[in-house]
């Protein structure tokens, strides 16, 4: 419940404040979002499995977002930034899909 309130509050805050993203941060924003989504789905699945742990969630959220942004930053420095972003999106996308499938199995029983 508190998680849902947080999500809604974040969305409202974003609409109210309308912060502008500095140019140098823009390439990493979508990657950070994919990483955050991955952590979120992992958390929901753990919640449904009854093993949710807030420390694990926060740590995995922060480390996922920071590490994926760092990988892409490193790739940009090496000239393979777009390929590495694709790699990050593929790996995290696989996890998001399998977590979403687990959630679906739990909730709908199918």
């Amino acid at each position: 419940m508190i998680a849902l309130i947080g999500l809604v509050a974040g969305v409202v805050l974003g609409f109210v404040l309308e912060p502008t993203v500095p140019l140098w941060l823009q390439p990493y924003l979508p990657i950070a979002i994919v990483a955050a989504l991955d952590a979120m789905f992992g958390g929901v699945r753990a919640k449904l499995d009854g093993i949710f742990d807030d420390k694990v969630f926060v740590v995995s959220f922060l480390s996922n977002a920071v590490i994926s942004a760092m990988i892409v930053f490193l790739g940009d420095q090496l000239g393979v930034g777009s390929q590495l972003s694709t790699g990050v999106v593929v790996v995290l996308g696989i996890r998001i899909f399998s977590n979403a499938a687990a959630i679906r199995r739990k909730l709908l029983g199918a």
């Binding site: 508190i2 998680a3 849902l4 309130i5 947080g6 999500l7 809604v8 509050a9 974040g10 969305v11 409202v12 805050l13 974003g14 609409f15 309308e18 912060p19 993203v21 823009q26 924003l29 979508p30 950070a32 979002i33 955050a36 989504l37 952590a39 979120m40 992992g42 958390g43 699945r45 753990a46 499995d49 009854g50 093993i51 949710f52 742990d53 807030d54 420390k55 694990v56 969630f57 926060v58 740590v59 995995s60 959220f61 922060l62 790996v91 696989i94 996890r95 399998s98 977590n99 687990a102």
Partner: protein
């Protein structure tokens, strides 16, 4: 601790993404470990401020990214429109310059003709100049002509395509038959004009042509026609028409006009004062 040993015990533990995927175990093992660390039977700790803050950040990120994409769309659109406007302005500028060039060229032509008409010597030079100009395709010419229209097989077969070599053969056949001047799709050929192919298009003087290809040869239509019929080019195009259904129409034109070739480049002569 026991669990983490298990996890890292495998030699391929660091590359287990696909294996985990097939086994359906992609969930973060951190949760399972944390659950195992707790005493059995104890309920998980309830969500706290950390979860709230993390999800606050997730929501914020989503909105910011969405707003960012929507904001940059009109900017891209404006940029594209500016570029298109730029292209149009430059094209209009080029057209204006071309018209001015044509006008000045015509004026020079008239002044030269007037200057040369003053003496017998001048008139002789003018006739020689006219002959040389016609041969170099530097002047527009008109007269009776033979018009040959060729095109790909309308059925679209690959074998029935017209290639640059076919066009070269036809043009050479018409020169051999005694044509005074030749144009392809209204573009005048000089002695050095290249007929080439690039991708699927035939280029004449590095400009792409669109089929059908209309080759206009100025000269006596009768002798041009008989010369073409008896030449290798005529035989080849009749054969191509019979076997691959390419179009090959020859008809005589009473009055045809060909423009001067564009951009006559000087090769050996240079204006005074320039090396």
């Amino acid at each position: 601790m026991r669990m983490s040993e298990e996890r890292w015990g495998r030699p391929d533990a660091s590359m287990s993404l696909l294996a985990d995927l097939f086994a359906g175990r992609v969930a973060d093992p951190g949760y399972a470990e944390a659950a195992a660390r707790r005493e059995p039977g104890a309920s998980p700790r309830p969500g706290r401020a950390g979860v709230f803050l993390a999800l606050l950040v997730v929501g914020l990120l989503l909105v910011v990214a969405g707003a960012q994409v929507r904001r940059s769309e009109p900017a891209l659109q404006r940029q594209r429109e500016r570029l298109i406007d730029d292209i149009r302005a430059r094209t209009a500028e080029t057209d204006g310059l071309q018209r001015r060039l044509d006008g000045l060229r015509g004026q020079t032509e008239r002044l030269r003709a007037a200057a040369l008409a003053r003496s017998d010597e001048g008139r002789r030079v003018r006739d020689a100049l006219n002959r040389a100009g016609a041969a170099a395709a530097a002047q527009a010419v008109d007269g009776s002509a033979l018009q040959v229209t060729i095109d790909d097989d309308p059925g679209g077969s690959v074998a029935g395509r017209i290639y640059d070599q076919d066009l070269q053969l036809l043009v050479n056949g018409l020169w051999a038959a005694g044509a005074r001047a030749i144009g392809v799709n209204g573009q005048r050929l000089t002695a050095t004009t290249a007929i080439r192919t690039a991708g699927a298009a035939i280029l004449v003087d590095y400009r792409p042509l669109t089929p059908p290809y209309v080759v206009t040869a100025l000269g006596d239509p009768g002798s041009l026609g008989s010369g073409l019929t008896g030449s290798a080019a005529g035989d080849r195009f009749r054969m191509l028409h019979d076997r691959y259904h390419t179009r090959f129409d020859v008809h005589q034109e009473g009055e045809a006009r060909l423009p001067a070739a564009e951009a006559l480049r000087l090769r050996y002569a240079s204006p005074l004062g320039e090396p």
